[in-house]
Amino acid sequence: MVTNSRVIDQVQVINLQGRLDAHQGKHVDSLLAEAMRTNNRTIVNLSQVHFIDSTGLSVLIKGAKHHREQKGDLVLCELQQPVRIIFELTRLDKMFAIYPTESAAIQALQ
């Protein structure tokens, strides 16, 4: 999985690309943990993720939970349709703050 991470307006933005599944879970897990050490407000941009499985969802849930424990927040943005469907099937779209664009997510976390 290709990833990159940057800080915009004191918000950590992590871009993921490819499949977010059991094989990539550990990598993303450590990326989120690292993000939280430097900044407890994180956006995960999923615009380039076209597949997510239950392990991928769990990584995001864990990440969000850890952010919350640190009084921070983890939000998602730019979900592609196949990924959005999985969020709807699991009703996790009701659990996460999901924004249509990255700039909207940044603005919300200010």
Binding site: S54, L57, S58, I61, D73, L89, K94, M95, Q107
Partner: protein
Amino acid sequence: MPKPRSRPGLRPGLRPGLRVGMVTTYPPGTGSLNEYAFHFVRAFAAKPEVAELLLFTDELPPGQEYGTDILSDELIFPQTATKRFIPCWRFNNPLNLWRILRAVQAAKPDVVIFNMQFASFGSRKIPATLGLLTPALLRLCGIPSVVLLHNIMETVDLQNAGFANNPLLERVIRFIGWMITHMILRANLVAVTIPKYVEILEARYGVKNVLLAPHGSFETKEEPPTFELPTGPMRIMTFGKFGTYKRVETLVEAFALLQNQKQTALELVIAGTDSPNAPHYLENIAKQYAKVANIRYTGYVAEKDVAQIFGEAAAVVFPYTSTTGSSGVLHQAGDYGKAVVLPMIGDLAELVTEEGYTGEFFEPNDPQSLADAIARILDEPEHRIEMGRQNYLAARGLSLDDVVDWYLLHIEVLLSKRHKKA
């Protein structure tokens, strides 16, 4: 500030001290889903958000007691929540609805989870139906209820599952099932383990409170399997509660064929008990196939003996004539790195593909087809090991511990909505 498409739900988080009620079977009780309950409860009890688990279990026969065979397990898996067993219902008792309600009202949990399937409360239609109304009744009484529904009526082959013996009766049962499903869906949330089930329930019943929650693997803290087999006969094992849709006739006949064909010593291990819906089934099988040598009936398998039973098996066979949902036994076979033999039916095959498992397949009710499928595993150790390895990886994909985090998130949102309303 732009509005998110979905409301943030992860804040402020569950307040510590959550008291979770669970209506379920539980070991040493032998009712269906007891094995799942054991692991499900263990995962909940390890969560810091959960202070107490109130287990509204079925009543045990005289001489048995809850909580006696899990102490050693708790040393391995630290449990932060306390567990309280409240036996308050009995299989086939028409008063279960009322008795559970009273027990829940007295214990006052924050939320009640039902670990259930359509035949959880009885094999007779009236008690089975009345029991399934309990989640709706709890919600009506102001108690948040979440149902983990392991099967749905729409995908159960009732005739093969042994619940309807003629087409007319099947139609009647399906209609009743449709009504009961409506009632089950009156719970605050209904979780199912297969994506197709969510789609069916949403489309057929027009509801929005159904969600997908993966089955999850049972964490055993065992070392990764070595895939080696013990010396002695090669063991073909089947595990479960038998007599309704899990029937061993074809398996025993396939085993007899294999014994005639092969020089190597074989043993068939039938591990488990009768289904509550089919008393004396295994006793009758033992009589019917008394002439087939090398069959071992283990009876009830205590949790501490499960690892050994699976570990010794060269192949785990699923002699199902129908499926009623995601298979806990398949996840267990994966946990122990086992090669599996599965029937080509319904959502079991779908689950295998979707969740990354692999197996040899056979035609249901065809002993020769089953014998051939087993032989492909026994004859090729490398194939057996490769299959076991893939199933192990599939089973380790998402642990029940992770799945319980999903439930806690949903419960958090459910409770926060109620607090807001209040």
